[in-house]
């Protein structure tokens, strides 16, 4: 038997790697592009990827009961999967590229030694998918936690790029210390130009999950794609009727088992009848490494048996049980007090939908946090209840809402934050400012300050000053200008809290009450007919 690998499939494998690199590069470019570029309106950035994601399209549609027109692009992905199989996972998905590359690196360094035949169950991702879909029926949007675009964007926005920015700052300090001023300066200008945010609550946790997901590739190749990814599972279910079916030429096959051992997604190429078309991502590895060029993917238009698409034995009982689990899980997410009363710290970005709709649409991708020029948008932990983990909230102590900026509303992939022009945005209240007279310098210490008044961006100012008498420790009385808030004018932007010199617990601070989007969390009554 002549031993010669297939040139065609070796070439296809190179093309596949090139395609992954290109899409990952596109993803990175769009991701970095989601910031203040010098234009008030930045157009479409990385959210375009999300619109091709059929899982997000379906879950958002079901959970929020809203049609979001841009998700029409996901039909392209569905059509491509129906015809060609899971090429999306193998050739397009940028998170897939991350896992593939790290698996490759782990293999080359011998951290990962694939078994001859992997027996681990591939069913988990289908169960995850069923739970996500069942939850969506009751309005719970869990897709964002494991959807590949959400996962990657969030990890990059909240953890990887902040880490990179931190590292660059360290490098910059090193350059300055060595007297390489020009090099240090170019780093500082890059950080300023790209507005790379460096500080995130939850940054460690989000990064931990991301690096954990990458590290799992040292155990099983493309661990995420095989066992966890609900989007992959969804596409797998659509992969019955595709026209590219693996075929092994029995005459050439020497039964070496390399194809099954090195299959990235445990699709089991050998023997031919055990091949799982729903798991195959057309990475072309098996066909390229086959020592006798026995493997090919000829066009064949007969559907696979449902049991054969992934061989995970999705029995009716298991499907019913996991559906039931997904449904009964929902009440447990709703036991939180945030269902009854708004959390005072839950200051949502301007344009955010009312809370129940917001939670049903937000996919926790963190794009808004990437785009925020002041670093003020942060992932929530407990403030919005368990289904609101990693949804965005403004933390004015870290960064405030820039008055003439509406970037967060422009980058949201699902419309959980509705697109706003800057004029529209400035009519929205996201919260209300309060003065803590026990800590405010003029009130409590009799010292001049009114930094908050200076920074209040609305005109006329929502922070006015009045002259107040304050007692000094020696008993003398002084008169100082002290801030008072006009809540009719306050937008809740939080710059007062951010710039307050009482840094640890600012003497002027914003809470969510009075936010335009909520009917429950309101404050000043506008009685109908009464002039303002």
């Amino acid at each position: 038997m002549k031993r010669e690998k297939s040139r065609k499939y070796r070439l296809l494998r190179v093309l596949r790697a090139a395609s992954q690199t290109a899409f990952f590069g596109l993803f990175l470019t769009l991701f970095i592009g989601a910031h203040y570029t010098g234009q008030d309106y930045i157009g479409s950035t990385v959210q375009r990827f999300f619109h091709f994601d059929p899982l997000l399209a379906l879950v958002t549609f079901v959970s929020a009961r809203l049609v979001y027109a841009l998700f029409i692009y996901s039909l392209i992905t569905i059509a491509a999967t129906l015809i060609l199989g899971r090429v999306f996972c193998g050739w397009v998905c940028p998170l897939g590229a991350v896992h593939q590359f790290s698996s490759f690196a782990f293999k080359k360094t011998k951290f990962l030694r694939p078994r001859r035949e992997e027996k681990a169950s591939l069913a988990w991702k289908y169960y995850i998918l069923i739970i996500v879909l069942a939850g969506a029926v009751l309005g719970l949007d869990l897709a964002g936690y494991l959807d590949p675009f959400s996962f990657l964007t969030r990890s990059f926005a909240v953890s990887i790029f902040p880490g990179l920015a931190y590292a660059l700052s360290g490098l910059k300090a090193g350059f300055y210390a060595l007297g390489l001023t020009a090099a240090g300066r170019s780093i500082s200008q890059l950080l300023g130009n790209w507005t790379l945010n460096e500080t995130f609550l939850q940054g460690f946790a989000v990064g931990f999950f991301f690096l954990g997901a990458v590290a799992l590739n040292a155990w099983k190749e493309r661990f995420w794609c095989r066992y966890l990814c609900p989007t992959g599972a969804f596409l797998g279910l659509l992969s019955r009727w595709n026209i590219l079916k693996l075929r092994i030429d029995d005459e050439k096959c020497i039964k070496c088992g390399l194809c099954t051992q090195h299959c990235e997604t445990q699709a089991h190429p050998y023997p031919n009848e055990k091949w799982r078309s729903g798991e195959c991502i057309y990475c072309e590895t098996c066909a390229a490494i086959c020592p006798t060029a026995a493997i090919g993917f000829p066009v064949k238009a007969t559907p696979e048996k449902l049991t054969n698409i992934s061989d995970v034995n999705l029995s009716r009982r298991k499907v019913l049980l996991t559906t039931f689990l997904g449904l009964v899980a929902v009440p447990f997410f709703r036991l939180t007090p945030s269902q009854k009363r708004a959390d005072l710290k839950l200051i949502r970005p301007p344009g955010a939908l009312p809370e129940p709709k917001f939670l049903a649409k937000c996919v926790k991708c963190g794009q808004c946090m990437r785009a925020c020029p002041t670093n003020g948008l942060q992932p929530a932990l407990t403030q919005a209840g368990p289904e609101g983990i990693w949804t965005p909230m403004l933390v004015p102590k870290i960064g405030y809402c820039e008055y003439y900026c509406s970037l967060c509303t422009q980058v949201c992939p699902t419309g959980a934050i509705q697109k706003q022009t800057i004029e529209e945005k400035n009519k929205l209240k996201i919260g209300s400012a309060w003065v803590n007279k026990n800590r405010c310098l003029p009130y409590a210490l009799g010292k001049p300050c009114i930094v908050c008044e200076e920074h209040c961006p609305v005109s006329p100012k929502a922070i006015k000053f009045v002259e107040v008498e304050a007692k000094l420790p020696d008993g003398k009385t002084v008169v100082q200008k002290a801030p008072v808030i006009d809540l009719e004018l306050c937008t809740g932007c939080g710059i007062c809290e951010n710039k307050c010199p009482v840094v640890d617990d600012p003497a002027v601070y914003v809470t969510s009450v009075g936010e335009t989007r909520s009917e429950k969390n309101r404050l000043l009554l506008q009685v109908i007919g009464e002039p303002k």
């Binding site: 203040y36 910059k172 200008q189 130009n193 300050c449 920074h455 609305v458």
Partner: protein, 299 residues
């Protein structure tokens, strides 16, 4: 206030407000290198800036060949020029060009902004203007500061931007604006943008901080942009109706006199401003404009 002061103020205020060049022309014609103060009124911020510097004797009086120049405008806020929260970009552009023409080796425009830096740099129009004129305009790097002994009466030391410290000459280019705490912010207040650190703490004794800073920073030239001034809701305004067109640029070598003339645009007598009185006491300049050689022009 005694009667003599009153009459003096009346004379100065009247002279300035009514644009009576003859009152001051005699002083302007006095011999010497040139006047201490030039105020030029006109339609184009760019042209009146150039004219004001020319009236002082030209940029060569302030910038030497091969100098590293810092131009310090007010770019504090994310506001477009018609809001009069930041220095007019054409004023900055004119000065960058003049500095280059006078032989400056490198011109850097910089300000430690209050709102997000890139937004302020871009939307004020100053980044484009400065770059078009060939200046460098880097974002402030909060780590590139040096704790510097100011030897002030209140401020003993503070972080100052190294870019500013390394310059041979500084040109201060403030805009004239209303400010709630110190009433008006002009040249002396503009130095807060050359600092790092927690500048908001300086509000606890702002007038004295301004005087200490003005005593430390010795600008070769101060050019006050009063083309469009901010008369209320300062120091950032937010509506065009908060501004007033004065269409004047004041250039001078005496920073106290420049601010004093700026005050007159708001109908405020200079001696009403505590920091100007303190600055004169400290010998930083004169707020009594009649003691200053002023040249006024209208183009």
């Amino acid at each position: 206030m005694n009667r003599r002061d009153f009459l003096r103020d009346l004379a100065v205020g009247g002279a300035v407000l009514n644009w009576a060049p003859r009152v001051l022309a005699g002083q302007a014609a006095a011999p010497g290198k040139g006047p201490d103060l030039a105020a030029v009124e006109g339609e184009s911020p760019y042209l009146i800036t150039k004219e004001a510097v020319a009236a002082l004797g030209g940029m060569k009086r302030f910038v030497g060949k091969g100098d590293k120049i810092i131009i310090k405008p007010n770019v504090g806020w994310d506001r477009t020029p018609e809001m009069a929260a930041c220095t007019n970009p054409d004023v900055v552009k004119a000065l960058v060009e003049l500095a280059h023409e006078a032989g400056a080796k490198k011109v850097t425009v910089i300000d430690n902004t209050t709102n997000q830096a890139k937004r302020c740099y871009v939307r004020s129009g100053i980044l484009d203007a400065a770059r078009a004129a060939g200046a460098d305009m880097p974002y402030v790097d909060e780590t590139r500061v040096k704790k510097t002994a100011l030897k002030g009466e209140w401020l003993k030391e503070w972080d100052i931007l190294i870019d500013v410290l390394e310059a041979d000459k500084i040109i201060n280019v403030p805009i004239a604006k209303h400010h709630s705490l110190c009433r008006l912010t002009m040249g002396m207040k503009n130095w807060l943008g050359a600092l790092g650190g927690a500048r908001n703490q300086l509000h606890q004794n702002l007038d004295r901080a301004m005087v200490d800073l003005a005593a430390y920073f010795k600008p070769s030239l101060t050019v006050l942009d009063a083309y469009r001034i901010l008369v209320r809701n300062g120091p950032q305004g937010g509506r065009v109706s908060d501004t007033k067109l004065v269409k004047t640029v004041v250039a001078g070598i005496d920073p106290v006199a420049v601010d004093s003339m700026g005050a007159t645009f708001f109908d405020i007598r200079p001696q009403e401003l505590l920091y100007l009185r303190l600055a004169q006491e400290r010998g930083l300049g004169k707020f009594e404009l009649e003691k200053v050689r002023v040249e006024k022009r209208k183009i």
